[in-house]
Symmetry: C2
Subunit: 242 residues, 2 copies
DNA sequence: ATGTTGCTGTGATTCAAATCACATCTTCAC
DNA sequence: GTGAAGATGTGATTTGAATCACAGCAACAT
């Protein structure tokens, strides 16, 4: 156990162990990768990368959460992803473009670890198993994007909302005896931007869903879903697998 | 040159050579993979895979084109992808689910080559370079999905239509002296289903775009785009890279 | 506690797109 | 060629969501 000149807790925690992508690596490889990473912290609301920047590299969220968004032609903010703790981003656009295609902003106090593109390439070359894991991770993200496209193709707002809530149940929800408890990662405004609908419409529909007993709010950020199935029936997954 | 008991022309053409995914492989590897593939043909309108089926495997479109779609809760057909010649599908859902998540239907006479899941896995294990190519291919598809999500988050139909037309220009367009000539892969009904809007709305907006000289129709399936930039300005890419 | 600022719900109004309805125009089979 | 079935354009009407407007609330700093 030699001393390392790294300020963050990643080495002791071996934070990367929590990331499924690196699950196949042994402890030594993890240690070596960790020392190759740059570690940074961001306050709530701070921008991690800005659209058009040069890519930082493959970025793992060690602690905290973040949103990825673009500003549309009409000035609205379209949110594309919400990254929870232990999620990561940057793999996709390291392979496709010179400039970062969207901004990423911390939703709370957030610590990230960054692996530069050359290091990531080395890692993929030397550990083919990680390539396979990355393929699987990208496949999962594509699956999610496909579901979103589907839900956005749907005509009514309720469908989109239900699909989003279901996603949150599965990402941020904790099971309890009265159903799933979910802390929403965004304000109403943020949720509306995620769905690409107006904040007012979202408000009204949420009230309606609460009247219909599909959801219940403890406070504006905390929601209880007594019956996941009921929500699922309203979503794009109705009559669906998984 | 020994005789091979394979009816299709893949071996002589070495059709896989045209697929960027396999660009890094030498001739012998390609030959060996080709012999491992199953080859099938479909008439226009025939279903290649049906939602809920067991996955066929990784599928390359050797000749022809196809659409991937799901039927939504309200009975509409939501098109997710249009696969042109030399494109492929199936990699994503081999990694994520047991059942195929959407149906794929031939848009014309179409020939495909199918690599079973175990063979694909062997290939990825034995040729790490192919894994990297696959990651890149998936990254590109994700980029496209992200653009679609963005355009669907946009409020007006015109934006979505312009984004789709731009995609077609880049996929199916041929440059000529009067601009790009594009043969649309779908009927108006199909295009509307791709965008998740009503056929009538699409018709009206196309007429309007033609009045505004952004596009011109030679016949209902053939379009000329005199100025790609003009179209791009209407799309989600306005003020954008690439 | 007090004012300031931002977040949220809700009514009234407007508007873009869906729907309905129907008249061409194509395609294709026979 | 002729008729039938499907594809397309366009008007009239309806409708769901956006927008506008504002009041109540929570969070926070002083």
């Amino acid at each position: 156990m030699e001393k390392m000149p790294i300020s963050c807790a990643c080495l002791h925690d071996l934070c990367l162990m929590k990331v499924p992508l690196f699950a196949s690596l042994d402890r030594d490889s993890l240690l070596s990768i960790t020392t190759q990473m740059r570690h940074k912290s961001y306050a709530k609301g701070e921008t991690i990368i800005r659209e058009g920047d040069h890519p930082l590299g493959f970025t793992v969220i060690q602690q905290g959460s973040a949103k990825a968004y673009r500003i549309t032609a009409d000035g609205r903010e379209q949110i594309l992803y919400i990254f929870p703790t232990h999620d990561y981003f940057g793999a996709r656009f390291l392979f496709t473009e010179e400039a970062v295609p969207y901004s990423v902003e911390a939703l709370e106090e957030t610590h990230v670890c960054i692996l530069s593109k050359p290091r990531l390439m080395e890692l993929l070359a030397s550990h083919p198993q990680v390539s396979l894991e990355l393929i699987e991770a990208m496949a999962n993200r594509m699956r999610r994007l496909e579901l979103i496209v589907q839900s956005m193709g749907g005509r009514n707002a309720e469908l989109r909302i239900a699909s989003m809530l279901l996603e949150f149940v599965d990402t941020f929800g904790t099971a309890g005896k009265e159903g799933y408890r979910v802390t929403l990662p965004l304000s109403r405004e943020g949720l509306a931007n995620y769905l690409g609908i107006a904040r007012e419409t979202l408000s009204r529909k949420l009230t309606q869903l609460e009247e219909d007993q599909v959801i219940r709010f403890l406070d504006s950020r905390t929601m209880v879903v007594p019956d996941r199935e009921a929500l699922s029936r309203l979503s794009v997954l109705s009559s669906d697998q998984l």
